[in-house]
Structures are given as structure tokens and as C-alpha cells.
């Protein structure tokens, strides 16, 4: 008899996810799905608002990566103004975007994922959180807290408010950098470098024991999409680009499938399917159709796509990363390692940008009236490529909005990954803690920006229902946060 195992998250703060696992008649996993019931009315209620409001408005889409939305949104607004923003403005936006990626990756790696790695995927869930890490490996926990706070402080110094800074505006940023602010940020970086050195060497030593995870966590062929440097600006073509660049797609063998796509023309290469099971749109690579055009975004996808990071220390780490995983290019488990490489890159790049001569330039905003009625803004958020696409009327009032959010890009891949893990760990209709943890852990590889997946302390609160095909509840398990 076919059955369904439902893992339902019970805390609903911003969005919540639940997982259904369908068993076939022999009790094996037929299919699994990660349902995301995140509110999607955003694109609707921005209609009728002045576009100047969009950066702040869209930053409210997400309490976890508001800066990423600010940046993508402001870039879309620059397009509406049809201006080239001052160089210092672009660089200051780069810095705040890097700081955001730094703090978000630190949250994902240290707070959410390191408990599994330090204590084991089957360890006592009551202890398996950052406080448990603090007992077993105090240095690692302290490093995580410190690194995250460096990212947050940089955002705070630049943006004024840590959670929703309104500093990034259409045409640039609304306040230049002061010497004092620059020096404060620069002074925080050396400790960050120390932390990254320690953490990378710890992880590279420990990764040997995660062979099982590497084998089973999202290890399947797919495309990978990210921005890479276009080569027109300071970076070399194909280097890591988090603020602007062109879209590149590679395949499961690391070969370039499509390159040099102007991200403004994203809708020529990306289609969007809306599945019944989820409010999250499922984008796919158009030339390959749905669902074969499944692609992944995020840290691993970015590192799969680039030729180098363009900064010395992280480039060495990147080369080593590439060497280590030559034969397991497709495992989503590598997102964790990729996050470490990117955090190092963020620190280096911030330092690099802040030491440039023009970073203190006072003219940091281009003023203009709207000159175009349509604009697309794209940047790399911690979780992957983020698209904002607006249409306005001649008075600057928003008529139409489309956003492709990073977590949405990964939705097809997340389903596939959950299925893969479930196949490996669900063999009977008994619900076991270890299985749940792995389903949860594979979701965390993608670090989806849902509050359920980002409980800083403790594990995801879970509610699991085992359903017969006729809807009868066969078994029920509940785990509170």
C-alpha cells in the first residue's frame, strides 16, 4: 500500500516548510517534496507604489537577507533612472553586499550546520545546536559568533540599521563613507582572517568523515547557474562576481553550457513553473524545458562556475576545493565548504575595496528622473542569484513586478535532494530521528531563507504525519523547537 510521510513544520513565523515523502506499495520512497508556503503576494502589493520605495519595500521580503534585496532592487531602479552610478557608490554597495554574504554564511555554517558536523548527524537533538558546539568545540562556536558579528557590524556601520538599512537607494547610496567608518571596518578584518584560517583547516580535516553525506546530499546531475565576472570591469572574465556580471550555466561535468547571458535578459533563458504543491515558483533553464532544465544556485554553483576568485587567499582555497571535489562536483554538501571559501573572499574583497583610493569619494549618488519604463536588477545573494524586474509608468509608479528569489531558483533541486535522502534513509514506515535530521540537513545545504530552517538555537521544530493513501493517519511524530 502506498503511504505518505508528512514532515510538517509547526512554527510559522515568516514562512514555513513541510516535507511530504510518498512511499510506494513496497514501502520504498517514490517521491519527496519540500513544500514552501511562503507568502508571495509581494509582487502584487508593490503595484501602485513609487519605484523609489522599492529598495526598502522589497527588503521586507526577507528578514534574513534584506541587504541582498536592497542591492538587487536598487540596481533595477538604476536601470529605470538609466544612469551609471558613481564608481564609489557601486563599490560601497559591493561592500555591504559582501558583508551580508559574510554574516549570512556564518549563520548558515556555524549556527545551523556545524552542530551536525561536530556532534554527528545522529547525536542527541537536545544538545545539537550552537550551544552544544560551544561545549564540544568552544573555539569553533566563538569563531562563528564573532564572524557573524563582523558582517553585521559592517552592515550597521554602513547602513545605520542592521536589519533593514535604507542606505542603498536608486542611483547609488545616500551617504558617503567617512574615514572613521572605513578604519573601523578595516580594523575588524584581521580577526576574520584568523577565524577563516582556523575554520578552513578544521573543515578540511573533518571532511573525510562526511563521505556518506557527500554521496547522498543532493548528489545528482543538474545545471549550475550564477553570475560570473564579465571581464569588462576590473575582474577577469569568469571570476567570482557577487554584485554584477553575466550569467553562466555549467553542467554536471563542469562544462559551460551557456555563457555571457546579459542578466537583463534572464527571461530568455529562465522559465518559471508554479507547482501546486508549493507557492514558490520553480524556475528552470528554458532551452532544456521543465523539469529537465533544473539548475542550482548558491555558493557551490558559483564555485562550480568560476575560473578563480580574483583575490589571493581565497583563490588558493578555491583551487584546493576544486581539486578535492573533482569527482563529486554535484553534491550539494559542498555548499558548506563553498561558503567557507566565499567568506574568506568576502573579507579579502572588502579589504581590497576599502583600501582603494576612490572609496572616500563624496559624490555617491546619481540623481535623475525615470528615463526607462522597465528595469532589471540582478546580484548574487548568499543563497544564489536574485532578480528584480520592474515596470513603471511615466510618473514612476510601479505597474508590474517580478522577482526570482535565490531560494526559488533551488526549489526543483531541493525536491530532488529530499527525495534522494529519503530514498537512502526511509526504508520502513517507522519514523526515525536520524532520517529526519538528514532530510533537515540536506535542506540546510541550500540554506533556504525560511524561518523554519534558520532557527539559530536548536533544530527545526517538526511535525510528522504518516498518511495512508486514503488520508488516514498511520503514525504521528512531533518534535518541538
Amino acid at each position: 500500500m502506498a503511504r505518505t510521510i508528512l514532515i510538517d513544520n509547526v512554527t510559522r513565523i515568516e514562512g514555513h516548510g513541510k516535507i511530504t515523502i510518498n512511499l510506494d506499495d513496497s514501502g520504498d520512497v517514490a517521491d519527496a517534496r519540500f513544500h514552501v508556503t511562503q507568502f508571495r503576494g509581494f509582487e502584487k502589493f508593490a503595484q501602485g507604489r513609487p519605484f523609489w520605495e522599492m529598495p526598502s519595500l522589497t527588503a521586507r521580503t526577507c528578514g534574513i537577507c534584506p541587504v541582498s534585496h536592497l542591492v538587487a532592487s536598487a540596481k533595477a531602479c538604476d536601470e529605470l533612472l538609466a544612469v551609471r552610478i558613481p564608481r564609489v557608490a557601486a563599490d560601497l554597495r559591493r561592500v555591504i553586499n559582501l558583508a551580508q554574504i559574510l554574516q549570512s554564511h556564518a549563520l548558515s555554517f556555524f549556527y545551523l550546520s556545524s552542530p551536525d558536523m561536530v556532534m554527528g548527524y545522529d547525536s542527541d537533538p537536545a544538545r545539537r545546536h550552537i550551544l552544544g558546539v560551544a561545549q564540544d568545540d568552544p573555539q569553533l562556536a566563538a569563531d562563528g559568533v564573532k564572524l557573524r558579528s563582523i558582517g553585521q557590524k559592517i552592515i550597521e556601520i554602513l547602513g545605520g540599521k542592521r536589519i533593514h538599512p535604507a542606505w542603498v537607494v536608486p542611483g547609488g547610496v545616500n551617504d558617503p563613507l567617512s574615514v572613521d567608518e572605513r578604519d573601523k571596518i578595516l580594523a575588524m578584518l584581521p580577526e576574520g582572517f584568523e577565524i577563516m584560517k582556523r575554520t578552513l583547516s578544521w573543515f578540511k580535516g573533518a571532511v573525510g568523515s562526511f563521505q556518506e553525506q557527500i554521496r547522498t546530499f543532493g548528489n545528482f546531475p543538474s545545471l549550475f547557474m550564477s553570475l560570473v565576472a564579465s571581464g569588462r570591469l576590473e575582474a577577469r572574465k569568469g571570476e567570482l562576481a557577487l554584485y554584477e556580471g553575466w550569467l553562466r550555466f555549467t553542467n554536471e561535468n563542469g562544462e559551460i553550457v551557456r555563457d555571457d547571458v546579459d542578466p537583463r535578459r534572464y527571461d530568455e533563458v529562465l522559465g518559471e513553473a508554479v507547482e501546486d504543491s508549493s507557492y514558490l515558483k520553480s524556475p528552470y533553464y528554458k532551452p532544456m524545458g521543465y523539469p529537465d532544465g533544473m539548475y542550482r544556485v548558491g555558493p557551490q554553483a558559483r564555485l562550480n562556475n568560476i575560473i578563480g576568485t580574483g583575490e589571493p587567499l581565497s583563490n588558493v582555497e578555491f583551487m584546493e576545493y576544486r581539486e578535492m571535489y573533482r569527482d563529486s562536483l554535484n553534491s550539494s554538501f559542498h555548499n558548506h565548504h563553498a561558503r567557507l571559501v566565499e567568506m574568506l573572499f568576502c573579507l579579502e574583497k572588502i579589504q581590497h575595496l576599502l583600501n582603494s583610493k576612490h572609496i572616500m569619494d563624496k559624490h555617491c549618488r546619481a540623481l535623475a528622473e525615470p528615463n526607462e519604463l522597465e528595469g532589471v536588477g540582478v546580484s548574487e545573494a548568499p543563497r544564489g542569484t536574485l532578480f528584480h524586474h520592474y515596470k513603471i509608468d511615466e510618473n514612476g509608479i510601479i505597474q508590474w513586478v517580478n522577482m526570482v528569489i535565490a531560494t526559488g531558483n533551488n526549489s526543483l533541486a531541493m525536491n530532488r535532494s529530499v527525495t534522494q535522502v529519503a530514498r537512502e534513509y526511509v526504508k520502513a514506515d517507522r519514523l526515525q530521528e536520524g532520517m529526519l535530521n538528514r532530510v533537515e540537513a540536506v535542506i540546510r545545504c541550500y540554506d533556504p531563507c525560511l524561518s523554519c530552517s534558520t532557527h539559530a538555537i536548536g533544530h527545526m521544530p517538526l511535525d510528522i504525519t504518516l498518511l495512508a493513501p486514503d488520508g488516514r493517519v498511520l503514525d504521528h511524530l512531533r518534535r518541538d523547537a
Binding site: G48, P50, W52, S56, A166, P170, G396, I397
Partner: protein, 245 residues
Amino acid sequence: MPPLVGVAPGVVTLKINGVDCSARDDQTVLEVAREQNIHIPTLCHLEGLESVGGCRLCLVEIQGMRGLVAACVTKVTEGMEVQTSTPQIEAYRKMIVQMLFTERNHVCSVCVSNGHCELQDLAVEMGITHVEIPYLFPKCELDASHPRFVLDHNRCVLCQRCVRVCDEIEGAHVWDNQGRGIHCRVVTGLDEPWITSDTCTSCGKCVHVCPTGALFEKGRSAGEMAKKAPQLPYLQNIRKGAARG
């Protein structure tokens, strides 16, 4: 200078919150209280414009008078005893501010006036952390037809400052009201797009007297619209002088 026409004002004595004060008899309770550094919250009142007593935030209690009266439009009289703050007054003021929030759509975090808004300041002053009455969520339009300014009805508190400044100081009378009660809206011309107004001089006075984010300059992002209140008493005197001269 020609002599001022009219009767010379007399002097009265009164008590505000138990404090003895003397004042001219053409002054309002609000003016005298301010001279004495006694705080009375206001919203529709703006020095330099005729008071209309619209918002009722300046409610005070006067011994011997039934009900509460608006301090901005009540003239002082001999022997008056005024209380500016009682539990009842405080409760009414809080309720008024809450109702202002619920009548329109105020989303401070993304509002151009965030951090520079008189309505927001009032809420802070009164310790309003949440609103106890249901929001109406009216559907409100924006008028962004003017090349430099935007009117967003979502943030309007109907204080009439824009209407008065445009009429009394600029002399253009672009603004007026339409509808009653919660259906009341400020309008430009005969409820036509702002850009079509023949009399608007684009002076921006309405924008800068507006206490909220309802009137703002184009191109401002969240929190960027700090108003520069024009020197209205000065402008008013100039106008008076011009009228006489």
C-alpha cells in the same frame, strides 16, 4: 507704518495646570501655554496658518465648560482655569492618534518620512506601541503627475495644512477637500491630476508643511524626506504688509 486698526487687546490672567499666567485676550490657550513652556500636543495647528481645530489633539479641560475644547482655537478669558493633561485627555489623545493610523495605510518602515514624521512622533510621545482598533485598509491612490512632487493619500491625516498654506500664504488655492468623514480627501483643482492645475506655482510649500509622508519630493527613498518648515509667520507678515501697502 500705518497704525494697526482695531481695539487694543486687553490683558487677562488665568491658570494653566495651576500656574498663574497673564496674557493678551486675543491669544489662544495654546499660545499662552507655549509661552509658559507647557506642552500641548498638536497636529493640524501650524504657527503662521489660521487654526482650524481639526485634529482635536490639543484638547484641554476648562473649568466650568462642558466637554473638552481645542486649545488652538480657544481664546483665553479672565479667570480661566485650564488643565492640559488629565487621564481622560490622555486617553482621548491616544485614541485619536490610533484612529489616524487606522484610517489610512501607514507603513513607516518604507515611508519617505520615516524618522521625520509628526504623526510618528506623536505615537512615540504617547507611548503607542500597538493599535487597539481595527485598521480600515482603504484603497488609496497616489498622484505622481506633478514633475517634482507626489501626493500619497495613504499617509494623509487630513490636517488641512496644505490647503491652508496654499490659500493663505501662496495665494494659489490649488488644494481643497472633497467628501466627508472617512471619505474625505484632499484634492488638487477640481479633483484633477495635480499636473493639470493652472494655479499651482510649484513652490513646494504644501510639501514642506505636510506633517507626514503624504506630500513629498519625487526621488526620495525611505526616510529621506525631512521637511523644512517654511518661515510662515514671516511670510504671513509680508503678505499682510503687501495687502495693506
